[in-house]
Symmetry: C2
Subunit: 183 residues, 2 copies
Amino acid sequence: MDSATAREQALDAAEKLFYGRGIQSVGMDDIRGTSGVSLKRLYQLFPAKEQLVEAYLERRDVRWRGRLAAHVERHTDPERRLLAVFDWLEEWFGEEDFRGCAWINSYGELGARSERVADQVRAHKRAFRDYLASLVTAAGLPEALTGSLYLLAEGAMVTAGITGGTRPAAEAREAARSLMAAR
Amino acid sequence: MDSATAREQALDAAEKLFYGRGIQSVGMDDIRGTSGVSLKRLYQLFPAKEQLVEAYLERRDVRWRGRLAAHVERHTDPERRLLAVFDWLEEWFGEEDFRGCAWINSYGELGARSERVADQVRAHKRAFRDYLASLVTAAGLPEALTGSLYLLAEGAMVTAGITGGTRPAAEAREAARSLMAAR
DNA sequence: ACCGTAGGAGAACGCTCGTTCTCGCGTCAA
DNA sequence: TTGACGCGAGAACGAGCGTTCTCCTACGGT
């Protein structure tokens, strides 16, 4: 098995376990068991657990925003594209293994102790907000709307994570629609 | 020192440390050092750390909702009372030791592993949402508004926790005002 | 004064877990 | 064929921490 493959398998295991059970409760030995990558190899690829955590969050960030953007791209009407964000949240919330927002969860777990993780969470959230802002601008809507829609999306993510179910996404979408109509 | 006092001091230390640094990174020895209550006494009062955590969350829940309600009580106009929720969030976010919503953080840390903690978080959030619903009803506004305002408040809490600052509260209040005006 | 008990300080125990080390095996170049 | 090397399996090490135990002191009732 070459390094690139081992790395991917390690990250696959990390994502599955860290996201599903939390970061602190997953040991490097669990990663080894799930990934099939030996401890020696793991430590060659990632000198410490913290770096595996960072790589996990970074890869997930790229994929998460990619999936969101891909969904939005399916629409052309600018206002429809904004609402598509909430459609996608609903789809995401409904996935079998959905356990809330990985960054909000990680922040609750490590934000107080790891500045690196805290920075990654802030960067991810800023990127998401910037993306929303670009959609708002493209739709010719007032910039101030960005903050409202962002808060609705964050509220939906945290609520869906805690209570389960997809309803928060639908509620957020309706609120968003109403705010957009109010101009 | 009598039992009641020891219990209060233990809970004071637990709240300060658990909220400030996260639950898992605080040891029972830290609680002892901060509270001045000996380990033996701590284990008499709380047979295991998990029970101290539960007591911490429960006492904080009562106080948090009490403070919110007290702030809302200062107003009589029903719509003003709803907006006062966001005023209070802004005040809370601005406090020196604010580190986000204790329940969202705890859920990120322990929600996947402790059903008890997960239940407490859900109960707290349900109580908050029910309270919002009662304010919405009292103001003669449509029930559907509750979900929107709740998501705005949750989004503001999680965002203020991650990025710091009080701005999310102001943004949420403006969005809430707009939604209430849209009827 | 004397005993029984409660309580404090802190050592001790057992477990988990991040990280490193040992050992043995297979591979490949010369 | 041989020897150096990479790698996997898993033991080992060391730290942190939840929990319990030991020992000692203080005090209240008789």
